[in-house]
Amino acid sequence: MNPAASVEATGLQVAFGRGRRSFHAVRNAGFSVGAGGSFGLVGESGSGKTTVLRALAGLLPPTAQVRGRMRMHGESLGAVRPRALRRRMQMVFQDPYGSLHPRHTVDRILGEPARVHGLDSIDNRIGEALAGVGLDASFRFRYPHQLSGGQRQRIAIARALIIEPDVVLLDEPTSALDVSVQAEILNLLQRLRRERALTFVLVSHDLAVVSHMAEALAVMRAGEVVEMLDVAALRTAAPQHPYSRQLLRASQGYDRAAGSEF
């Protein structure tokens, strides 16, 4: 175990269902992220990267069987999470159209977690949380349907940060957004990480996003980590595993010659 690690997973396995019909979504995943670091998990759809993130967040359905160990600052992340532990790890979801309660105002979306964790001066905190994600106070009493996708994702980020977590799990935070908005959200996340010394675990299928956001990454395929890389190695295009190379080629856009190689 690495004492400096903020988030650590070793030998993680996740299976759904029992007996012959069981399905192993994650077969063997392990990684560790230092405090204040940013780690990316990449892979195609169905590679198990989102399942790893949900296992970390404690959001898998009760029928899922999780083996292996997950730790945050040395504390074990089990199936039952005390509220104080929940507070230290927050998640931003992929689809900002589905992750905000449609009948709650922004005020309530931000205020409720703060109240549940017994924080004081909630009014000020809501204002600061909005300002922190680049929204002014006029957004406070709007409903999600009055906001654009990018604004919703900012609200989702503000909701995660209002209870002052150490670790933020990002599940494809920009893939549901317009290309023009994606860069804004990514830069916002980078700035917030620097300002608040957050640790990020980022899931994406987009190597460009991961290389912008993360310092190191794991390439996942069919539930297993096939290669660990740091971003410098990715930039020099030196991944070893053929699947990693394939992903890298794919992220550089479609190319008929490259397509026929695989």
Binding site: P61, G98, P113, F141
Partner: protein, 299 residues
């Protein structure tokens, strides 16, 4: 007027209250476009107004016999005519609307919270809790409504309260099923997962995140069921098991008037028309509410 409208339609609400009012106003704008729904709400509003204003718009409470005035045809003196005991039928229909509202109100107050609570808990918690609660629901679903009402009345004596109790006891199960179906789809949704990952307690998630999303379909179902509830209550009254004479309950009025159906048609006809119109009103209202409240039918 335009200031109020601007306040209701501004993009930048300044307070929680304004945001809520805006949501209601926008729902009303959608509702208003639906002609039959407006007709429905007009009928229900008339029912409520008739019940509230009964002491002022009627000449009597419609319970004292006046044998000198038996079976008058509808006319200027008695708009709906008089019945076999000389009581004014218009007065009785108006006072009867109070009883109808009482039945409707009492049944909804019992049925909605029970159905919603059982359905939402079953759908959200899942597992053996879900199985246990849904089997209980099946048991109540299997009771034939009218037969159970007869048994209740036989055991507890005839009366409006017992009739209402029997109706409520046999009609909450569909609400539990609707609420459960909604809660099941919500349980996996990102905004519920987000609430869980934030450490919001399960009870609070159920009450303030899941239940508000289920309540609209439950209310729509309730308004559509209202006609059935009114008809069952009237049916019990007709069988002599609901409201007892001389209470001007519409079903009981039809039961007493059926002997005069051929010669003095107005005695059973007007309470019958009242039941028809009010049932229709609730149905139209329910259809309109479904258009406004049910997000699935909107887009």
């Amino acid at each position: 007027m335009s200031a109020v409208r601007a306040w209701l339609l501004t993009d930048i609400p300044q307070s929680r209250r304004q945001a809520q009012c805006q949501r209601l106003f926008l729902a009303w704008l959608v509702f208003r476009r639906n002609g039959s729904a407006v007709a429905g709400i007009a009928i229900v509003a008339t029912l409520v107004a008739g019940a509230l204003l009964a002491p002022w718009i009627t000449g009597s409470a419609g319970v004292t016999p006046d044998l000198g005035n038996r079976l008058h045809a509808p006319g200027l003196a008695h708009w709906f005519g008089t019945d076999e005991l000389g009581r004014d039928i218009f007065d009785r229909v108006m006072w009867g609307s109070r009883i109808t509202l009482y039945i409707v109100g009492l049944v909804s107050v019992i049925v909605v919270p029970i159905g919603l609570a059982i359905g939402v808990v079953a759908g959200y918690v899942g597992g053996w809790v879900d199985s246990a609660l849904m089997r209980l629901t099946d048991v109540f679903l299997a009771f034939p409504r009218l037969i159970l009402a007869l048994a209740f009345v036989a055991a507890l004596g005839p009366g409006l309260e017992n009739a209402v109790l029997a109706i409520a006891l046999t009609s909450w199960s569909p609400y539990a099923r609707i609420a459960r179906a909604e809660a099941l789809t919500l349980r996996r949704s990102d905004f519920i997962l987000a609430a869980r990952s934030q450490g919001i307690p399960h009870l609070q998630i159920i009450v303030s995140h899941v239940a508000p999303m289920c309540i609209s379909s439950v209310i729509v179902r309730l308004t559509l069921d209202m006609a059935g509830i009114i008809l069952t209550a009237a049916g019990l009254g007709f069988l002599g098991l609901g409201a007892q004479p001389p209470t001007p309950e519409w079903g009981a009025m039809i039961a007493l008037g059926r002997e005069y159906l051929l010669d003095q048609w107005w005695v059973p006809a007007f309470p019958g028309i009242a039941i028809l119109v009010v049932s229709l009103g609730f149905n139209l209202l329910g259809d309109g509410l479904r258009d406004v409240l049910d997000p699935k039918s909107r887009d």
